[in-house]
Structures are given as structure tokens and as C-alpha cells.
């Protein structure tokens, strides 16, 4: 048996390598400064995602010399830097930056002794996501996924003496490990059927195998269902969503934010890679029972309905945002089941816009929690009077989540629905997508109800509010970053849209 070392392309992995080293450096920095530096660790940690982010942005804008050969495949095609990878890395790194920025409050007050670990684990988790984004086959994908999740288990339970936090950690851990077991079991079926873990290869093999041996369908079916469950956990897609509200509520707010954006984006990448890429052949009603499209569509409907409906009755803003993020996952999945030149592009733009809005909203929640210790929606009453900037920016984030133009959230929803309709108008067999769109638009209206509730409390009350918000610099920066994101990319979205336009091609959905 030949055993040759695959090609070794360190350039492809430069940002990841930097992240790894920097994460370790953050650990050590905290140690060597004897855990005395309050904010310095945080600023230090910010460099971790910021440098790779700039690197990738420079590469994409052509500012990086061609000789750096960042894009393309490496490590025996196991590691692949295409637009998808780079775009999602931007999302992950952006989410990490915003999460770190909004963590300054809790690192100052609550986790006095473990700042380095906190930031380091966050960076490790981001690193996992970056690997995930670049992975081109199941093994890397799995490793990336685990590298993402395991630090998050720890982070969720980071308030060691806070029962809620520990409970969140336990729940997240058990359900996470459980779902990754399901995922693995499903993957083993895929491997068994196709004999490969390479996703592109699998796409071809599967079709061939399936044509010759129809009776393997049961295994395939089991594999698909298990994989949907495994990745659905990451996405908090109903019915695999129940951990999300509990975990969001219990864990530190920046971590909840990071979970809701980073982890979700990671799940999206994984989902896209496994299904859109690897299992593309099994899509569409005529592929039943192995069709994953309708199944995911059904889950999307469930997500939109359950998320938006249950959110209405929440009294804790973090739980509310958790349900809202469940619903948002539903909207994203609409784009996921559109296998044409619009589908994955809309998913990518959606998660990008969602990152700013949701991270911003959580950042606002974190600011509020740092100052008052409360996450109850009731306590936001009358805030517009004392803290107009806070109230306006939180409102804008929420409005972006509803999808009110000209904020980025609107364009995101627009793109998702547009994708579904573009397919439905062309392909008669895809007319079920109209139903997805129908449920989507209707639940979007429902969603206004609970988002507006927060605005109502902040603005409409004429009572004197109990709290007044003061901002730390990093937290304010995160707020402004989020605001800038939803406003700028709502109005001037062209560069991002241009970028995401090539993403469907990465999944082999069309040839540019």
C-alpha cells in the first residue's frame, strides 16, 4: 500500500495557525501577568480574530500578494479555501470579535481568575469553526465541529458557582455529545455507502451506488435522518432546538451570543457541505424517501412557527432571543433547500446580516446585564429616556431581525424568499417552496409582536426608568459595529452580494 504524505501548504492555513498560536499566547499572557491585567487580556484576545479577519479581507479585496497563495486546496484536498470558506470565516471571526468585545464587562466583574481561559477557549472554538469552513471531507468536518463545540461546553458552564450556568453547561454538553454521536453514526452510514469521506467524491459515488443497489435506501435514509438530527442540533433547528433556550439563558451572555451566531453559522456550513454538496443527488420530491429537501423544509416551517410563537411569551430577553434565533434558523433553511444559483448565496448573506443584528442585540443585553444583573424584559421599561443610544440601537437590531428595510435583515429575508421563489417559478416540482415562503412571511409578521414588545417597553412608558446605562468603550464599539453592519450592509450591500454570488458555485450548484 502506497502511503505518501500529502502536499503540505502552510499558506492555506495561515490564519488558523495564527489563531492557534494566539490562543495559546492568550492563555500564557494571562498567566505570566499573574492574572492582574483586567482589560489587556481582552484587547490581546481581540487581536486573535482581528488579524485573520484582516488577512482574509485583504485576500478577498486583492490587497494580498498573489504569491501568498491563500486560496485553493491544500493538504491533499482535505483543506480547501474557496469563497464559502473565506466568507464564513469572516462571519465566524466577526462574531468572535463582537463576542469578545461584549465580554469585557463579565471578565471585569465575574470571571476574575480565568480571563485567559475564557478568551482562549473562545478563540479555540473560533478556530474549530474556521477548520470546519475549510473542510472538504467528513473527517475534517467532524474534527472542526468538535473543536468548535468542546470549548463551548466549557464556556457555557464558565460561571462555576452559578447553578444556572452549570446547568446550561451540563445540558449543552449532554445534548451536544448525544447529537454528535448521532452525527457520527450517520456519517458512518454515508461512508459505508460511498466508500469515501471526500464530499465531492461522495456526491458522485452516491449517485452511482444508489442507481445500482436500490435496496440500500434504508441505510441511506437512516444516515440522512441521523445527519439532519446531528447538524440540526448545531442549528437549533426544531425539533432539535430544546437545549437552546436553556443554554442561552444560563451561559454568559457573550457566549450565548456566540452560540447563536457562530455555532449556528458553523452548523450551516456543515449542513451545506454534507447535504447540498455531498447528498445533492437526494433532493426533490421525486427522490423520496431519501429526499432531504422536503424534510428540511418541514423542519424550517417548524422552526419558524415554534420559534416565533413561543418567543411571544418569554419574559427573559435571552430566552426570547434564543427562540428568535430558532426562528431565524428556519428562515435560513429556506435558502438552504433552494438548489440553484440563489440558494446558498442567500443563506450566506442571511447569516452575515444576522451576525450583526444578533450579536448587536446580545451585546446590548450583555451591557444591560452587566449593569443591572437582570435579563428580564420588564426591566427595560422606559430606557429610551435615560439611555437613548442604547434603546435606539437595540431597537434597530430587533427591527433588523424582523426584516424592516433598509436594514440588512430585510435584504437577507428578501434574498431568502427571492431564492425560494426563483426556484418555484421555474420548476413546477418545487412549488412546495411557495408554502415555505408563505409560512415564512406570515411568521415574520408574528415575530414583530415580541420584538416590538421590547421596543414598546423601552419607548412607550412614561415612567421614570430605574436604570441608566453607561457604556464601556469596547461594548459601545460592539454596539456601533453592529449598527454599522446592519445599516451599511442594508443600504450598500453590493460588495457582500457580489461575494456571495459565487458561493453556490462552490457547492456545485451552478457553473459560473
Amino acid at each position: 500500500m502506497d502511503f505518501t504524505l500529502p502536499q503540505y501548504d502552510p499558506f492555506r492555513m495561515l490564519p488558523e495557525i495564527f489563531m492557534l498560536l494566539w490562543a495559546l499566547w492568550v492563555f500564557t499572557y494571562d498567566l505570566i501577568t499573574k492574572r492582574q491585567k483586567e482589560a489587556a487580556v481582552g484587547y490581546m484576545a481581540l487581536i486573535g480574530p482581528a488579524v485573520p479577519l484582516l488577512f482574509i479581507v485583504f485576500y478577498l479585496t486583492g490587497l494580498l500578494p498573489e504569491s501568498w497563495r491563500y486560496g485553493g486546496s491544500g493538504f491533499g484536498a482535505m483543506f480547501f479555501n474557496d469563497t464559502t470558506a473565506m466568507f464564513f470565516k469572516i462571519v465566524f471571526l466577526g462574531a468572535a470579535i463582537m463576542a469578545i468585545g461584549s465580554s469585557f464587562g463579565i471578565t471585569k466583574q465575574k470571571i476574575v481568575n480565568h480571563r485567559g481561559e475564557f478568551y482562549g477557549l473562545l478563540l479555540f472554538s473560533t478556530l474549530g469553526m474556521m477548520f470546519l469552513a475549510s473542510s472538504n471531507e467528513l473527517l475534517t468536518l467532524y474534527i472542526g465541529l468538535e473543536l468548535t463545540t468542546i470549548p463551548l461546553f466549557v464556556l457555557a458552564a464558565f460561571f462555576k458557582d452559578d447553578k444556572l450556568s452549570v446547568e446550561a453547561g451540563v445540558k449543552y454538553f449532554v445534548i451536544g455529545a448525544f447529537s454528535s454521536a448521532l452525527l457520527l453514526y450517520g456519517m458512518s452510514f454515508l461512508y459505508g455507502l460511498s466508500g469515501t469521506t471526500g464530499l465531492v467524491q461522495m456526491k458522485m459515488n452516491m449517485a452511482v451506488v444508489f442507481l445500482s443497489y436500490r435496496d440500500i435506501g434504508v441505510i441511506l435514509l437512516g444516515g440522512i435522518v441521523l445527519l439532519v438530527a446531528g447538524v440540526g442540533f448545531k442549528l437549533a433547528l426544531p425539533p432539535f432546538h430544546q437545549w437552546a433556550p436553556d443554554v442561552y439563558e444560563g451561559s454568559p451572555t457573550p457566549i450565548a451570543a456566540f452560540l447563536s451566531v457562530g455555532s449556528k453559522a458553523a452548523g450551516l456550513v456543515a449542513f451545506g457541505k454534507i447535504f447540498v454538496n455531498g447528498l445533492m443527488a437526494f433532493f426533490g420530491p421525486e427522490q423520496a424517501p431519501n429526499d432531504w429537501g422536503m424534510l428540511v423544509g418541514l423542519l424550517a416551517i417548524l422552526a419558524m412557527v415554534i420559534g416565533n410563537v413561543v418567543a411571544i411569551r418569554q419574559t427573559n430577553i435571552k430566552r426570547m432571543l434564543a427562540y428568535s434565533s430558532i426562528a431565524q434558523a428556519g428562515y435560513i433553511m429556506i435558502g438552504m433547500v433552494v438548489l440553484n444559483e440563489h440558494g446558498m448565496a442567500s443563506v450566506a448573506y442571511y447569516i452575515f446580516a444576522y451576525m450583526f443584528a444578533n450579536m448587536g442585540a446580545f451585546a446590548a443585553v450583555a451591557i444591560f446585564e452587566d449593569q443591572t444583573g437582570s435579563c428580564q424584559i420588564e426591566d427595560y421599561k422606559g430606557l429610551a429616556k435615560t439611555s437613548p443610544v442604547f434603546a435606539v440601537s437595540l431597537s434597530l437590531f430587533l427591527l433588523s431581525l424582523v426584516g424592516i428595510p433598509p436594514l440588512a435583515g430585510f435584504l437577507a429575508k428578501y434574498k431568502v424568499f427571492a431564492a425560494a421563489i426563483s426556484m418555484a417559478t421555474v420548476d413546477p416540482s418545487a412549488s412546495w417552496l411557495y408554502w415555505l415562503v408563505g409560512v415564512g412571511v406570515l411568521t415574520a409578521v408574528f415575530s414583530l409582536f415580541y420584538y416590538a414588545n421590547v421596543m414598546r417597553l423601552m419607548f412607550f412608558s412614561n415612567e421614570e426608568p430605574r436604570h441608566k446605562i453607561t457604556y464601556s468603550v469596547p461594548a459601545l464599539c460592539v454596539l456601533l459595529l453592529g449598527l454599522a453592519g446592519i445599516v451599511v450592509f442594508g443600504i450598500y450591500a453590493e460588495p457582500i452580494l457580489k461575494l456571495v454570488r459565487t458561493i453556490p458555485a462552490d457547492f456545485g450548484l451552478y457553473i459560473p
Partner: protein, 99 residues
């Protein structure tokens, strides 16, 4: 091969059952390991009997073992926290947050 696949399925089912019914968190952890191992067996069996021209399945299994170990470490640490906070490791404790 069918034997191995069945073994894996049984293992998986036992693990699943354990996860669902154990009150002891450590027990759950162990059941999770069973489920991971079911996947391992599958990978290796497929590699051996169906796709013999490569080692991907076995490699995969190795990685799973590693990751499972890491997961177990983190899991045990969290269980420790559970114990610290409640002086017990029953899953009953962790149902404060609901609806």
C-alpha cells in the same frame, strides 16, 4: 458484515437507552461513549468489508476515539461542577430552567 453492523446498532441502541434513562450523569457519559463506539465499529466494518482499498474508515475511527476522549474530559469536568453546586450528580438537579 451484517454481524458487525448489527452489533453496532445494538451498541447504539443500548447507548441511546442509557442516555435517555440514566439519572447518573456519569452513566450518561458512559452511554455516550457506547454510541460513539457504535459509530466506530461501523466505520471499521465498512472499511474492512466494503471499501477495503483504503484506510479512511479506520482513520476516522481513530480520530473519533481521540475526540471522544477529549469530550469525556470536558464532560467529567462539568460533572464535577455539577457535584460542586449540588453535592450530587443526578440529572434531576439540572431542570431549573425550563419552558
Amino acid at each position: 458484515m451484517l454481524f458487525y453492523l448489527s452489533l453496532a446498532a445494538v451498541l447504539f441502541a443500548v447507548g441511546l437507552f442509557g442516555v435517555l434513562t440514566r439519572r447518573n450523569t456519569i452513566g450518561i457519559l458512559m452511554s455516550l461513549e457506547l454510541m460513539f463506539n457504535a459509530a466506530n465499529i461501523n466505520f471499521v466494518a465498512f472499511n474492512k468489508y466494503v471499501w477495503a482499498d483504503g484506510l479512511i474508515g479506520q482513520m476516522f475511527a481513530v480520530f473519533i476515539v481521540v475526540v471522544a476522549a477529549a469530550e469525556a474530559v470536558v464532560g467529567l469536568a462539568i460533572v464535577l461542577l455539577l457535584y460542586r453546586n449540588w453535592q450530587g450528580i443526578d440529572t434531576d438537579h439540572v431542570s431549573v430552567m425550563k419552558w
